[in-house]
Symmetry: C2
Subunit: 108 residues, 2 copies
């Protein structure tokens, strides 16, 4: 059976919902549903592996500590977040919800 | 810079367009744009590795030689195509174009 990433969506009003989709040596695929959540200013993500993200629905704003500043993401936008580049989600659309596909490129 | 997978789209009216997005040990991500193309009946795909697909736009029909028959795919639908399961795309919507994200889970 096919699994749809856009419907039905879990209720993420109180907290982002992370759903593991597939895990293999070197790669981990997950869906993230956000409804207004942002990354705390004092706790940016700082990952030891590259991450490739694709915005599937909604809208978001992402800050990367690479000198490029903030960028707006709309559906279809993809971005490679290199390992050890600190980053924060600074805004997510709450309604309709924001849906991300995140591919973690971990060491296998 | 963010790259958008949905716009602009290449012209795929005469042939499907495959665009490599990212390649790492164990994983290869590509976008496929289809505009009515199907897999020839006598030449199904038969891959030595698992493939995870996500339909991003348009519509498609996929046949897997696993006894489950054909299935329709709409945006947001995902499917794991196991290695060595023969499969064919039996229909793709031409207008608006059909856009796939394919993640090839190759041996690293």
């Amino acid at each position: 059976m096919a699994t749809n990433l856009l419907a039905p969506l879990p209720d993420a009003r109180t907290a982002e919902v992370f759903t593991a989709l597939l895990e293999r040596p070197g790669v981990r695929i997950e869906r993230i549903v956000s409804q207004g959540q942002v990354t705390p200013t004092d706790a940016p993500y700082d990952q030891p592996h590259d991450e490739w993200v694709l915005l599937l629905a909604g809208a978001a704003r992402l800050w990367l500590d690479d000198g490029s500043g903030e960028r707006d993401l709309t559906p279809g936008d993809t971005l490679l977040i290199p390992a050890r580049i600190r980053h924060r989600v600074t805004w997510t659309q709450a309604e309709p919800p924001t849906v991300w596909l995140a591919i973690h490129l971990e060491e296998s």
